[in-house]
Symmetry: C2
Subunit: 127 residues, 2 copies
Amino acid sequence: MTDTRAGSARPGADAPADAADAAGDRVFAALASPVRREVLRLLREEGPQPVQRIAGRFAMARPSLSEHLRVLREAGLVSERKVGRQRLYRLEAVPLHEVREWLDPFERFWREKLTGLRDLLDDLDEP
Amino acid sequence: MTDTRAGSARPGADAPADAADAAGDRVFAALASPVRREVLRLLREEGPQPVQRIAGRFAMARPSLSEHLRVLREAGLVSERKVGRQRLYRLEAVPLHEVREWLDPFERFWREKLTGLRDLLDDLDEP
DNA sequence: ACTATAGGTAGGAAATCTCCTACCTATCAA
DNA sequence: TTGATAGGTAGGAGATTTCCTACCTATAGT
């Protein structure tokens, strides 16, 4: 007994989470894979492409890539459009804006570090 | 037979990957968890904190949070410093700069979408 | 020295991820 | 129509993640 379980401290209490973040979660999760980040880079640099052409860049079977594309699609990061018997996948960059916005408030922290200001307000914080 | 396995198409051929990306991989992977993103936000807004204080925000046992902190530590996103019998965890934002840099080249794409320019160069790309 | 507290580590269960090999459908070309 | 090609889906193996409950060490206070 007595593991001091939190019990009442749920993150939902002061986080606006709920269903709104679910989409963002999927975006961050999609970016966790180097393969998927590379796919996005590829679509950015070379424009919309059929699956085969994308698959040619990776040392993996095509169905595996199809899975990655599904993850990207469900995160809203790519869209597909049928052209003849192939599917053109196209970058949909808007959800990345959400990542950027999440990142923004951290910017001053790394900027302070990178410009050499270093710790300074770090020692004022512990109460 | 004949599944047209790629075989010779390895991403290492035209990607500078190798060991340099490994660190970045860990950063992106660390951000994939909503819990870990929330920990970073917390350290950013309230400064360095001991594990218990962080753990109080989540509905999970403390050892589980310790695991998350380890992931963040190995990604270089937090550092710890012993103070008495507690460990102060502090945000280390510099690795986030790397994420920002990865994101940057995508900016013009979502900006075009958000400002209503829409598709425009999408139809020039397929050869 | 003894007890309580902070927090890491061990090991395991359940879920999820990532890859694979079939296999299926839809379209184009003969 | 028949065959070849593009690409999704099914199902499964193996690795990884995420949570848990013990359990252990180190420091602080009495």
